[in-house]
């Protein structure tokens, strides 16, 4: 074992779930986190909605990996419903974005920081 990569107690950890499941769970957590960070940081409204899709992706990955762990297909069925909601959300949100763009001629979310009549 390569000791140079380990620091301190790092060498002695054990996983609570099988390794393939833990990798899938780890990237599902990472995709969810990156989605949150993107939603908070980006100022383009379309990219903000794209980041919510990133969060959906992370949630779907967690569902499928738990479905693999428990050997139960309900997790995969739930991902199909996530897909449905994502499609509906994309259609509505993008329609709203186009409406907002027509009002202010910009995609900058900060243009709407003061609520009220335009």
């Amino acid at each position: 074992m390569n000791a140079a990569l380990d620091i301190g107690v790092a060498s002695g950890f054990t996983l609570a779930v099988p390794a393939e499941i833990s990798i899938a769970l780890m990237i599902s957590a990472l995709l969810f986190t990156l989605g949150i960070i993107g939603f908070l940081c980006r100022r383009n409204m379309i990219i903000m909605f794209l980041c919510t899709e990133l969060m959906f992706q992370g949630a779907a990955l967690a569902m499928v990996s738990f479905s693999r762990m428990r050997m139960d297909v309900s997790g995969q069925v739930f991902v199909i419903f996530i897909l449905t909601v994502a499609a509906a959300e994309a259609a509505l949100a993008l329609g709203l974005v186009v409406l907002l763009y027509r009002r202010r001629e910009t995609l900058n979310a900060d243009a709407w920081s003061e609520l009220g009549e335009s």
């Binding site: 620091i7 780890m26 960070i37 940081c41 199909i80 994502a86």
Partner: protein
């Protein structure tokens, strides 16, 4: 307990991502991406190394870790790239590589429906909206994106908040108390569940029985009321009626005849979640109505205006009709 290296790697990739999100020069960008991706790669490599398994079990996990790395790296590009169209295209890469992860987790139906719906439908919608609502750069021919795509809002605090969530979520894959036994993939349970799912599908059950023995005409219930009896060697025993027999006899199905993922998902969808399926259809219908209502151009015409408009149209039609006549 959760190993220290995990928190160190989280902090490392958080610092790299925060530097990437701030406006800076090319060399710093390069260093920051190296640092962030190294943190993620470190976590993945540690997990792969921790199994210490024989090499035949290591190969699929290596592929899984590679797909995981590609998907996370392109997700980072989604939130850091300055051009929205490239963000959408990198999101396609995220979808494709996580679909590869789904295939490796033996969820083939979900993987391909994800590619079709996300990469095929939703992302095309995003691209069309980007084209409809894109601001051209300040001067034609400049490579700079518009200001609100280049300058991010509060990157440092967002990254800190995000990676605190990651440290909590990701720490759950490590064993916290030594008294908790680690979860294992229960192959026996999976096989038993698979045969039980097959028993719910009479037509498929008969087809699989015919594959094992072509003379089968019907599958009947066994003595205990079940169609399938699962053996300890993962095969299943059915009671079948053959073409030239009147009394049912036993037939053994090998594990190769287990139903595949697609038919199991479809069966679960219509037997266990029928109401949810109907509700999903209603949600899609409502979304379609909503999109139509939102996209309709709102023009305010009074009754008199409408009458005048109709009259002018009718007049024009008459005029053109007279010309052709």
């Amino acid at each position: 307990m959760v190993p220290i290296f995990f928190y160190v790697a989280c902090a490392m990739s958080a610092a790299g991502l925060a530097l990437l999100l701030m406006p800076q020069g090319r060399t710093l960008r390069f260093g920051a991406s190296i640092m962030g991706l190294a943190g993620i790669a470190w976590i993945l490599v540690q997990i792969v190394r921790s199994i210490g398994a024989p090499s035949d079990a290591l190969a699929p996990i290596g592929v899984l870790a590679l797909c995981a790395f590609v998907s996370v790296a392109s997700a980072v590009r989604v939130i850091t790239h300055h051009r929205p169209v490239f963000c959408a295209l990198y999101f396609v890469l995220v979808v494709v590589s996580s679909a590869a992860v789904f295939v490796l987790l033996s969820a083939e139906f979900v993987a391909f429906s994800l590619i079709i719906v996300y990469a095929g439908a939703i992302l095309i919608t995003y691209l069309f909206v980007l084209m409809l609502a894109q601001q051209s750069p300040a001067d034609i021919g400049s490579t700079d994106a518009v200001e609100y795509d280049r300058i991010q809002r509060e990157p440092a605090s967002a990254v800190i908040a995000g990676f605190v969530i990651l440290a909590v979520l990701g720490g759950s894959v490590f064993r916290v108390h030594e008294s908790n036994p680690p979860a294992t993939l229960d192959q026996d349970r999976a096989i038993r569940q698979g045969w039980r799912d097959l028993a719910l599908m009479p037509t498929l059950l008969l087809a699989q029985a015919r594959q094992a023995d072509a003379t089968v005409t019907a599958v009947v219930r066994r003595g205990n009321g079940q169609f399938v009896a699962v053996q300890s060697d993962h095969s299943a025993i059915l009671s079948v009626v053959r073409a030239n027999q009147s009394t049912p006899t036993d037939l053994t199905l090998p594990p190769a005849l287990l139903p595949d993922n697609t038919s199991r998902v479809g069966m679960a969808l219509v037997t266990r979640f029928p109401v949810s399926l109907e509700l999903a259809g209603i949600i899609l219908l409502m979304a379609m109505f909503g999109a139509v209502v939102l996209a309709r151009r709102h023009t305010m015409h009074g009754d008199d205006e409408k009458r005048a408009l109709a009259a002018s149209v009718a007049q024009r039609d008459n005029a053109s009709g007279a010309l052709t006549r």
